[in-house]
Point group: C2
Chain length 355, copies 2
């Protein structure tokens, strides 16, 4: 693992990004923002899943008018996602949002940009510049042969940042997403070289839950392992709660965040003595609410089983006719297959309780 890149610190309400702070997990609602009650129901589910920053789209005045009620009903910082319209940004800031995502180059007349920057600065609310390959400025595209290359994405982000910097505003987070992994990775490497601002990572339009999960894990995994990235958003066409779960799995896989148990399980083969897939999946589901980072191993046979089970906090390893239970490296008994799920779940809950 590479050292995390040093960045400036940016405060989004109670959450601090950059400068060594934990990599924050965020998501975005897909309800009608104007429907404050419905949006808050989804926000509550996101909060329970561990989402640390929640963004809502603000496409019109009706949505902006719902922001005060939404803000009041939630615990984690609220981010308003705005395109073009500076009045919506001002309304969002008045409503008390903790971050605004808006690209200053798209706001229009200088006085409009100034008003937004002034209002954000007065409230110590950061601005995220969010560039997407699908909506680059024509001017930038032309300069890059008509293609949304990594260089074009970088140039677009730099252009937006320069507008804020000229106004003395440096409370900035940057993202620049493409819909494929190689371009996303190349773009963020460039951004990380060029800027001290915290970076918001994401592969845009990653796809369905099935394929988007994999594309996000590959793209964000590569960048995070290099030490790049201060907050991540996994984009999936599906329930945003799934985005949060996937984000934590990515961070846990690299040891960058702890967030509940880790269940390892062998893929099983002709050597397996127990129904590993069923047992592992059942245990994983039944301990999903556990907060502690407890490592559970479900291993089918005696080849790698004892080694892996011994390194886990609690583990079982199948053998000829009997399965051995390991607790923190020591054999503590045998367990029958039909008891295995119950025993593992109990052991995890005991450990969670300080046992």
């Amino acid at each position: 693992m590479n050292q995390r890149r040093t960045t400036m610190k940016v405060e989004i309400g109670s959450v601090t990004l950059g400068n060594g702070h934990p990599i924050a997990v965020q998501s975005m609602t897909n309800t009608e923002t104007a429907d404050a009650a419905g949006t808050l129901r989804q926000i509550r589910r996101l909060e329970l899943a561990g989402c640390e920053l929640i963004r809502v789209a603000v496409p019109d005045e009706k949505a902006a008018k719902a922001l005060p009620e939404i803000r009041k009903g939630m615990s984690v910082p609220l981010v308003a996602d705005i395109h073009f319209d500076h009045r919506l940004a001002l309304m969002a800031l008045q409503a008390g949002v903790e971050k605004v995502r808006i690209n200053p180059g798209n706001i229009g007349a200088r006085w409009k940009v100034k008003e937004v920057v002034q209002a954000a600065g007065d409230r110590a609310v950061p601005i995220r510049i969010g560039v997407n390959a699908g909506s680059l400025e024509r001017r930038v595209l032309r300069a890059h042969g008509g293609h949304a290359t990594a260089g074009a994405l970088e140039e677009s982000a730099a252009g937006h940042a320069a507008i804020l910097e000229e106004l003395g505003f440096r409370d900035i987070v940057i993202s620049a997403k493409a819909s494929d992994v190689p371009r996303t990775v190349e773009t963020y490497r460039k951004l990380s070289e060029r800027f001290d601002y915290p970076l918001h990572l994401g592969v845009s339009e990653a796809g369905t839950v099935r394929s988007g999960t994999i594309r996000s894990a590959v793209g964000l995994g590569i960048l995070l392992e290099e030490g790049i990235g201060d907050t991540i958003r996994v984009s999936l066409a599906g329930d945003p709660v799934e985005e949060v779960r996937v984000a934590y799995e990515i961070l846990k896989s690299l040891g960058l965040r702890e967030h509940g148990p880790i269940v390892i399980a062998c893929p099983t083969c002709a050597r397996a003595q127990i129904d590993v897939a069923r047992i592992a999946a059942e245990v994983e589901e039944r301990i999903a609410d556990v907060k502690g980072s407890i490592r559970v191993a479900v291993m089918g046979c005696g080849v790698n089983g004892p080694g892996e089970a011994r390194e886990a906090d609690i583990g079982v390893a199948g053998g000829r006719g009997e399965t051995v239970l390991f607790r923190r490296g020591k054999v503590v008994g045998k367990v029958r297959e039909e008891e295995m799920v119950r025993v593992l779940v109990e052991e995890v809950r005991n450990m969670e309780g300080g046992g």
Copy 2:
């Protein structure tokens, strides 16, 4: 993307690993190998999913005796996975398997190792050395403070390789897997520095389909992006066909293999004008059998939609009250939401047919 590392070339029947050849996708059956008919049914499903090398565990003589029938009934190369017992390796070689996975250091007496190496050499069958953190030699563990570190994994692999090299056998593939991503990545970086042999990548005991997919995508993604790896196996406690699907998604995400269509879809937000998640998932499922690498975009609104849809081979982008259909960069019409799945599937099938 980094250049792929140069390695020696190893031929496994009709599949060549290393030296610039495509990264091969492999999996392992989880049926009883002794049940040849049941194993062949699973092998057939793996072949249909695009699996290019199929491994079976050979834990005993009954399993070894089923190998000739299994070999006869399949099209892709067969790999026998053997622990300790050199007679099983000899039986597998006689049965015509195209690769044997066995760790020579675990075979025992020198004459046994020699017999296996001789039989493999006579048939031009490569040997994979497969080291796992869960089953390291005690001697190696002791030398590394009792822990299966990346250094310990490397040392174990080097020890096994030295035994083969001393016997003049260099038709070798190496893997050394740990059950967590950082250790797996560190280990393969060391192997890649040290050896010219092709590397078989995997995160061992990655876990359930839900979490193992993400751990494998992160771990293998990091290594593949660095140019490391010549064949990959995704380990999941579940249906091995899922391992093949995930492996291809990882390779496709990095542009390393083509394997059917890529569906990109926006995560949707309050701006979405169409039911992106449902449409994308339905289209993805209904074109799963398409072989061509056609890029499909399902985008909910006018912000990034037209840009992404234009870059796809076929795409839709929602707008105020109407959704625009793009074909290879050009607007070709409008499409109603209830027609969208049908139209996109038809367009993909037309393109597949050379349209």
